[in-house]
């Protein structure tokens, strides 16, 4: 058996759910999240990466999820712009989806551009710094600050006053550090 195969199997079987959870924050629904994870796994393991261990592989896959998400949205930009007019949300409503606030946040996230959304997820879920986000997405620090600032401003409309930890991000934008 090729050396990459057990690593991919282990990652898929043990970390699939977590990866889909991460991808769902970007994609906005479970189906697209699963597609993103599959695409990212294929992208990651189709390249020769000698000595790859599952822990490192997960980092590669998470990065590939982000790339696949941004790539996909670039390709489907026009469709996405009108999708909400034509297609009802497909995902099932689990008990964790019932709170109005959560739905509001989902709606607010759905209103963000892909890059804004990616920045928010990386900042507030992955807990990455501005330079790390910039490196992951392949844009400048300044652009990250701009996207984060715009996103938080737009989320504030839905979420109400932004909690202090969120203001910090906006302060960073204003401070041009």
């Amino acid at each position: 058996m090729a050396s990459w195969q057990p690593v991919m199997e282990q990652l898929f079987l043990n970390r699939r759910a977590a990866l889909i959870g991460y991808a769902a924050l970007l994609a906005g629904n479970d189906h697209d999240a699963e597609d993103l994870v599959h695409e990212a796994l294929v992208r990651t393991f189709s390249r020769a990466r000698p000595g790859l261990v599952p822990e490192a592989a997960e980092s590669y896959v998470r990065r590939a999820i982000l790339s696949a998400y941004l790539d996909g949205y670039r390709k489907r930009k026009r469709w996405i712009a009108v999708r909400h007019l034509l297609v009802p949300r497909a995902e099932s409503d689990g008990p964790e989806r019932v709170t109005a606030q959560r739905l509001e946040i989902e709606t607010a996230l759905a209103g963000l551009s892909p890059r804004e959304r990616a920045c928010v997820v990386l900042r507030y879920y992955e807990d990455k710094t501005t330079p790390e986000i910039a490196e992951a997405i392949g844009i400048s620090d300044g652009a990250v600050k701009k996207y984060l600032g715009n996103a938080v401003r737009r989320l504030s409309v839905v979420l109400g006053p932004v909690p202090e930890r969120h203001i910090e991000a906006i302060t960073v934008v204003k401070g041009r550090d």
Binding site: E9, D30, F45, A48, E96, Q101, R102, V120, Y125, G160
Partner: protein, 376 residues
């Protein structure tokens, strides 16, 4: 806001993860198997460089010296022939063998998942015994057969073999061969060894795609006649580690026209003197043709035909006609210009040139008759 954005994102992710975890293990396994297959195919393509483009890309790879392992138990593939797969006295030719392979649904880049069944009375391959390099593009395979029916040895003598080259479960190439005359060695009445000449190993991705040395598997797919003369096809499983060196190992640079060894009159020998790679990086030689895959022909082959006695058809001015072909399709006369071929009188052979530069020189080793052979 009773919760922070951070907390809510975590809750959303956890929810998606929880829903993703509800599928049963069997569904997960099936998904994983599909993904593994996709990765294997992509890795196979990456291994060989260019995109897999199906059967239209045919080219040779040099097969390095190999030690063979014992094959698996003999098994067979049912019902693979079609009406067009005529078996001649010498067995299937290469094109027929490849047609056979394609009839079995074996294609470049696809996972190799044959379902084998037993076929009684015919002697299948039980062991692949040995292989050795005979020339840059030729090799021989010695195959041990179990004789399990009357007349089996006479059937064996007419065998030809098509082989599927597999890596990581994905088809990456094909090969086909015929028995060497008089090569059938009967052991104790229950076993026999047949040596097959396999003139080429065809890389799915073309000659410009370097295929690394490594552990490949070779699965045999056979066409044969049974004792009653009816067409019968079996597929037999065996494994073969193949070292496939970079073609450059066998492609000396510079003008090698003086030191090339002559062929045996039936199969040409060649020296590629093409540092530019304009002819591709390999060649396939059959008993009546030489085949190259120049990159600029976009996967089609550039073919020189010669006669089985080693003579090279050419016009009175020495021009050797060039042809283009794709696997399984009729050949066309090459008309695009660029490449030209000229006859070399002694020892008989041909040169292929581009823009006045000799790219390859080949000889069949035959001493020619004085009269030129009309070609078209």
């Amino acid at each position: 806001m009773s919760t922070t954005l951070q907390d809510t994102l975590k809750t959303l992710a956890d929810g998606a993860a929880a829903r993703a975890g509800r599928s049963d293990d069997e569904a997960h396994r099936a998904t994983l198997d599909g993904l593994l297959g996709t990765v294997r195919r992509r890795r196979a393509v990456r291994h060989t460089g260019t995109a897999v483009a199906g059967a239209s890309l045919v080219a040779a790879l040099a097969v390095g010296g190999s030690q063979l392992t014992g094959g698996r138990g003999a098994r067979s593939i049912p019902g693979a022939t079609g009406p067009g797969a005529e078996i001649g006295p010498g067995g299937l030719n290469q094109a027929q063998q490849l047609a056979l392979v394609n009839n079995l649904g074996i294609e470049c880049g696809k996972p190799f998942t044959l379902k084998m069944t037993e076929v009684p009375n015919l002697a299948p391959i039980s062991t692949i015994d040995a292989a050795r390099v005979t020339r840059g593009t030729d090799y021989e395979v010695a195959v041990a057969y179990t004789i399990n029916g009357p007349g089996a040895t006479s059937v064996l003598a007419r065998f030809s073999m098509a082989a599927v080259i597999v890596r990581d479960g994905t088809v990456v190439g094909f090969a086909a061969g015929r028995p060497l005359p008089g090569s059938l060695e009967e052991d104790d009445g229950t076993h026999a060894i047949l040596r097959l000449h396999m003139p080429s190993l065809m890389n799915c991705s073309g000659p410009d795609a370097p295929t690394p040395d490594g552990q490949y598997e070779m699965y045999n797919v056979e066409g044969r006649l049974d004792d009653a003369g009816a067409t019968q096809v079996t597929g037999v499983l065996g494994t073969l580690p193949i070292a496939v060196p970079d073609w450059a190992t066998y492609a000396p640079q510079g003008d090698a026209t003086q030191d090339v060894a002559p062929g045996d009159g039936t199969v040409a020998s060649t020296r590629i003197t093409d540092p530019s790679g304009a002819l591709g990086r390999g060649a396939t030689f059959g008993t009546t043709y030489a085949l190259f895959t120049p990159p600029e022909l976009d996967g089609k082959n550039l073919v020189v035909r010669f006669n089985a006695d080693g003579s090279v058809p050419h016009d009175p001015d020495g021009t050797v006609p060039l042809w283009t072909s794709s696997l399984g399709l009729p050949s066309d006369v090459y008309t695009a210009g660029g490449f030209t071929a000229t006859w070399v009188p002694s020892p008989e052979g041909f040169k292929i040139m581009k823009d006045g530069v000799t790219l390859v020189w080949s000889t069949t080793g035959r001493t020619p008759t004085p009269t030129a052979t009309p070609t078209r």
